[in-house]
């Protein structure tokens, strides 16, 4: 048991170092390689963090959805641990997305917050997955916790596009959207920087995920050992 755990740990740490380096290189590219935006100037450089964190946030929630379905279908505890780990990271990155989006919004739109469809949906997404984590913390039996959480993971994810569409209609019928998605072509250096950062933050996500799943697996092993010990006594 100890051997694979140790080699897994080395691998995970290696992944962590690669992810850290990638983030550093990504920051360097964002600040020094990519040109300043013609309209927004240097402020626009926050895009290189904002868009990748948003991508990781939504991807993490998608992983929760898939892992939850796999759990209900196959009843593998591993699928439940994956969903749990991904939901935690998803909440973290959703919060980060809202924060760095606000920081970007203040100088460009003149406000920290607007009831834009994407913003609103991201905030609701955060509440849904906080609810998911709360539910988990309130149920003790592992099997029941996994089963109930999986349902929330599935129903919550299916609802997200419906929420997005309804907020979009609500907004467009009341007032025109505050920003128009412009058909602005990006120079290659900007696109490269953005794509590089996508990769970097996805690596960070995978690293967190591996670490967190491992931690949960160890916890499950300890719980099983404790239960065994209690039985012997």
């Amino acid at each position: 048991m100890a051997e694979p755990c140790l080699s897994g740990r080395t691998l995970a740490n290696g992944l962590g170092i690669v992810a850290l380096l990638a983030v550093l290189v990504g920051l360097y590219l964002a600040f020094f390689y990519a040109p300043a935006d013609a309209l927004q100037g240097d402020v626009q450089r926050i895009m290189y963090i904002h868009v990748p964190t948003a991508w990781v946030a939504f991807f993490a929630c998608f992983v929760v959805f898939v892992a939850s379905m796999v759990y209900l279908w196959k009843r593998w505890p591993e699928a439940d641990r994956l969903a749990y780990a991904s939901a935690e990271i998803g909440v973290l990155f959703t919060a980060l997305t809202l924060i760095d989006g606000s920081i970007w919004g203040k100088p460009t739109w003149g406000t920290w917050w607007t009831w834009d469809a994407r913003l609103t949906t991201t905030a609701i997404l955060l509440v849904i997955y906080v609810g998911y984590l709360m539910l988990r913390s309130f149920v003790e039996e592992p099997e029941r916790r996994a089963r109930l959480a999986a349902l929330v993971g599935i129903v919550g994810f299916i609802d997200v596009p419906i929420i997005y569409m309804s907020v979009l209609w609500f907004r467009t019928l009341h007032q025109p959207p505050s920003i128009q998605a412009g058909g602005v072509a990006m120079p290659e250096s900007m696109l490269f920087t953005l794509l590089f950062n996508f990769g970097a933050y996805t690596l960070v996500y995978v690293f967190f995920l591996v670490k967190r799943v491992r931690l949960e697996s160890l916890r499950a092993i300890i719980d099983a050992l404790m239960a065994e010990k209690v039985e012997h006594e």
């Binding site: 849904i128 929330v152 129903v155 299916i158």
Partner: protein, 219 residues
């Protein structure tokens, strides 16, 4: 399913516990709305649809949260699960009962709402009831599922609305906007986009809840 529905309705008719609490809770909410917003006559029309639906939804959460509580005592849920056949029927039985309770409360609240806020509802009554039915079905569809899901969980009173409210955002948008159109003298046709949204929401979550209910009550 019919037996379960009949049982729930009978129990409720006998002691009227949940129904009475829901009804007076809604009345108290109307008082609170009045004093917290002090709506003057001219802005009532703008506020009314939102206030009406907030009253319905908070009242609904109160009622739905209790819907599986009665089954917890004496292990009634376990007995119910012994019924051969699809577990979805238990869900449908509970769902129809919940819709009936909510609609009954809404029917009683509407005249009071019109009275307190000096609104003329009678012209728009039929379209308004249509919106209320669509909104209530969707709310109850998700609410019944999550009521069952949280029925045996610690801190269920806080967890149930926390899980349910974010998910029904499309429903609130749809019902409030459609109600505003209807109260403003519009026809159902003018609100058709929002009614379609509500109908789609209802259909999607009725199907999902029906299919996933067996995972909730699994032993």
């Amino acid at each position: 399913m019919y037996l379960l529905l009949a049982k729930d309705l009978l129990v409720e008719l006998r002691n009227r516990e949940t129904f009475t609490v829901m009804l007076f809770f809604a009345v108290v909410m109307l008082f609170l709305f009045h004093f917290s917003l002090n709506p003057e006559r001219e802005n009532t029309a703008i506020l009314a649809p939102g206030l009406l639906w907030l009253a319905f939804l908070f009242t609904g959460v109160l009622g739905l949260g209790r819907s599986f509580q009665a089954e917890q005592t004496n292990d009634c849920l376990e007995q119910l699960l012994l019924i051969p056949g699809d577990r979805g029927h238990i869900y449908l039985g509970k769902l129809v009962g919940n819709i009936a309770f909510m609609l009954a409360v809404e029917l009683l609240i509407l005249p009071l709402f019109a009275l307190f806020f000096q609104l003329n509802l009678w012209l728009a009554l039929l379209p308004l009831l249509g919106v209320a039915v669509l909104g209530t079905v969707g709310f109850a569809a998700l609410g019944t599922l999550f009521s069952a899901l949280t029925s045996n969980v610690r801190a269920r009173e806080v967890l149930f609305p926390l899980l349910l409210f974010p998910l029904i955002v499309p429903l609130i948008i749809g019902t409030v906007t459609a109600t505003a159109i209807v109260l403003g003298g519009g026809t159902l046709g003018e609100a058709s986009a929002w009614l379609k949204l509500l109908a789609a929401f209802d259909t999607i979550f009725l199907v999902i809840a029906y299919l996933t209910f067996e995972f909730v009550v699994e032993q």
